[in-house]
Symmetry: D2
Subunit: 346 residues, 4 copies
């Protein structure tokens, strides 16, 4: 039994962590921090948790959390996790950060895209990018894991086998991604209102979204050379779910069947990544509330391209579920512990 | 470990049973029957189950299912469960029927509202109405449990404490209920199409819905005299969830606080029924995918009425979750086994 | 051609006014006020209006608007319309207020429910409640029209024929109403976020909603005696639409057919109120974006009650469409001008 | 005043035609045909039309319709419009076909993708593709107009200026399109059920959708050489709306500003096509229920690509609105007649 704290517990990813950890047999939650809801019961903020947690939200300092916890999850706006994680590592406490602060080995890239200084380049260089299907062994021994962004998780899992195997031209990659509104968080903003999102879809952050360099860092490592992508996120009237549809030109002709074999081999034994049968394209609701990633692909023989689709739940595999998966690896628990449920469907 | 079969596995309640039972440590699913999908993998019909079941849908006779299973769930259109359950009881096999065939102690009431003959009045009189919060002890020793309808579950749980305690005039009960579309099943009908349901709400079955006599049977037993209600169901653009808003005139003045005490006592120790704090009215998404029922109430002192709201997930507590709760009771497993998860929220 | 201004143009009711008036052949919009968006084009705030208006939002004083306009619409939070309308009437300018400030003949009732002082009881007593189907002649000659609330519009239209004709016991009225999220306005609030509303329904304001006394004022006038109702609003995951389901006990037995005749007579010749055929219950999407009100009813012979359902679009007949209908009456234009479109369905 | 008939009036595009034409001052609807609903009032099938049409659906032969009408709209499944339009042209009756039968100048392409024989290659070669922004003059004098598909309308309007001007490499075009469920029609199919579509997005018809050759025919004509595209449609939980996000490689560096100028010039004077201001990306709800197309674009300087987004309402500009626009052109009415309304937003 390990003691865990969540710093920033009342956002959507924080609530999702509590939901998942409430049934984790090896984790005891000992601290939930919140400024806005300090003094309120977590089950008052998220009544779905009524009967599942008696914890009260507290306005604790990071050190106060570390006094109680052996591992901390950080779910704060970017910029805020740098000092917290730095301090935690000094105290030997394990950290899983759900934000962007530690996702870049080269903190200069972070500074360029996020327009703020990063206070600890040295530690950034040693943090581990927490995508278990790519970095499992490094995660097992990591003290600081940078939990991947939701879009990058779906995109990297979708493209990794092709890039690793050299099947596609890295200069031709286009990622058209569609996300549910929970990705925008629980902040009260006009653009996240029901009436503004319902019955609509729109692109945003075109050519400039901050998940672009994160995707490129990982794809470049897989390809063994620098990769630049065109990435377009869209906002979709669903609560949870990301679908990424990806396009790339094959470097030599290949059949759908041949490429399916590449994926099957690459993801053999993976508990959460599933290549669906031929012709069965991912629906985000099939992974709703689960830690699964569903994939499929087809070769467009008319144009020499491959089309890949990848579906995850942005709050689970795209955030808090993956964070628990990383926790399990870091603590030596079974990797799927507390994450065994199928998607909530229908 | 008990062997279980599902007759009619590919409707929404069947799929929900498979979802829940896939993580039940004491149940092994041994048969899934389907006419439409015979020969297909259950995970092909519901790809959310990919990796959670290897079972194939089969067009089996009931006796073939009973050759394999010690307990059967029946998820068939009404009328079809009478011969199946009759045969199962002859063979000593436990039965949980998710349809209406066994919900009436007086099968004549069933015949009047469902407009078909019931072939086994004698067994109907002995079947147990599977609402554990009301009939727990009878369920434990039952061989045939009639799993309640979704609307009745929400309505009866909402009104039981008031009727049992004699706080309201049974002649004044009005139940205004709102259901998600999954309640209409997976049959391809124009009225269940996305475009017909989206951005809309409508009443249906006004003054004539078949759940009316089921509600009345149970409320009458609680009140100790015949109760007739006005019940109006509505169709709502959500997949899962029922909210019942209920109105009744108090027989004598009472405060909200006093009536809260009545509910707290009535449901003390219940694992799935939660009276929310004062002023926090149930939202169906708070119980999404869970077996919970959330309640709240207020006295309208201006008119002498009490208003009660009750929220459940129609597929879980309103159908398959409650069926597993009944299974647990019938088999001596912990009542909450495989049902411990909070609502999937946000 | 009349010159009109909108004070508070960038909320949802303001935008709906602009949408409707953009095709009104007798109205020229000459001023749109907004604090938040002063200096921005209205079509920048609501890009759906691109090509339909070149007006810029301005932070004007009420008097500056009145310098340009012959009639003003006020779409401000309650409390703010009292001084504006008072001044406008001094200047002889016609006013249609979409808020609550002028809806009560007895401003004391307003003060009791809205918890603020009303600065002009005398003018309040002379304002006209702008429900044309009930007060058409008074509206024609009014200088100040209080546009009804959305819930009251649906409820009063649904119950008026029964109360006027003395068919129901006024002490037994229950109104269970369901509204789309646009009724909460465009203010950035957590409770109006997509993720908080989607896949959910909940009651709110139980026993205390401020539309209660407004409904009671009008129903009392129709009944010829004081009426108190139990009114429960619900929030629904649709953008537009209100469905009110209403219950009352008949004072003597009556058939559905007989009561249909009462409605047909009461609403004979009404352009916007439609009693649907027997058994066809209103769906809010059938009136989506239109100024129509769809009604139906049935007698529950088992309990001696009548059930009435009434559907409107809360932003159109429930707010801005009705405001334009009132404008048409006040200015002598054809009552349906600019409001002739059917619901946007499918 | 022209007499018009609709063959296949009770599908979604038929209902949308009736909705629009109900306020067309120069069109009198004289016949609505339907097999499923013969004998029922159109307002019974679509109650939103209550008060707007008294027409009854009839099971008429095409010749019976032509006996009454001077122009006919055909809204039938593909294959069925060939004999109807052939006969109409023999009788000199104007035809607007909303299906695929007449969209291909080379009927062989149709036969290849639709897998059926086309009975009138000669007439197909002379039919006019009814996209007014591209073929306005030909439409004016046409007897048979093939109304474009919904996806092609959005894609072609989005790419036409770039291809016509030679700014992009035609071999690099990728079209990632997202459609509301009404595009699937009103047929009762499991895949169109609310529960199957809600809270989900999925690709379908990957590499094989029948709108591909239609897009290619028109893009090839614009480019002056053969164009092949990768086209991926997606199903989205909205009722109406298509967003197409398009990608292509620039043949030489160009700025967003420069390309904006190209679009402004190409669409100068167009009543329905609007290039939104820089940074304001199209939302489908902004064109909801209108005949508008909203566009925007940006150059991705990092990769040398241009990204274009195009939003329409699939039932209006993508089907019935465009059909009325074509009717207006064919009959010499003002092109925007009955189509002047802005999007229904919020």
């Amino acid at each position: 039994m390990i003691k865990a704290g969540i710093i920033g517990a009342t956002g959507y990813t924080g609530a999702e962590l509590v939901r998942i950890l409430s049934r984790h047999p090896e984790v005891e939650l000992v601290a939930l921090t919140s400024r806005s809801y300090a003094g309120e019961g977590m089950a008052g903020v998220y009544p779905s948790l009524t009967g599942y947690t008696n914890l009260t939200c507290e306005n604790l300092t990071p050190d106060e959390v570390m006094d109680r916890a052996e591992v901390i999850f950080i779910a704060l706006p970017h910029g805020h996790a740098v000092p917290v994680a730095t301090r935690a590592r000094e105290r030997g406490i394990k950290v899983i950060d759900l934000g962007a602060d530690w996702r870049f080995r080269n903190a200069g890239t972070y500074e360029e895209w996020y327009k703020i200084q990063h206070g600890n380049h040295e530690l950034a260089a040693r943090a581990v990018y927490g995508l278990p299907e790519i970095h499992r062994e490094a995660i097992r021994s990591a003290g600081l894991v940078a939990n991947p962004g939701c879009y990058p998780t779906s995109a990297i899992l979708g493209l990794a086998p092709l890039l690793k195997g050299g099947y596609i031209d890295p200069a031709t990659i286009i990622i058209d991604a569609k996300s549910g509104v929970s990705g925008a968080g629980r902040e009260a903003r006009v653009t996240s209102l029901f009436v503004e999102c319902n019955e609509s879809i729109n692109p945003y952050g075109v050519t400039s979204h901050r998940h672009t360099p994160e995707i490129e860092q990982e794809l470049s490592a897989l390809a063994g050379k620098e990769v630049k992508v065109t990435f377009t996120p869209h906002l979709l009237p669903i609560s949870r779910g990301i679908l990424s549809t990806m396009y790339a030109t094959l470097v030599r002709p290949a059949s759908t069947e041949e490429l399916r074999g590449v994926y099957e081999e690459f993801y053999a034994g993976e508990p959460f990544v599933h290549l669906l049968p031929p012709g069965q394209w991912p629906h985000t609701r099939w992974v709703y509330g689960s830690n699964n990633c569903h994939l499929n692909l087809a070769v467009d023989t008319r144009t020499g391209r491959v089309v890949v689709a990848s579906a995850i739940d942005n709050l689970t595999k795209g955030a808090s579920g993956q964070a628990v998966q990383n926790l399990n690896l870091m603590c030596g628990f079974p990797e799927t512990m507390a994450l065994e449920v199928p998607g909530l469907c229908p």
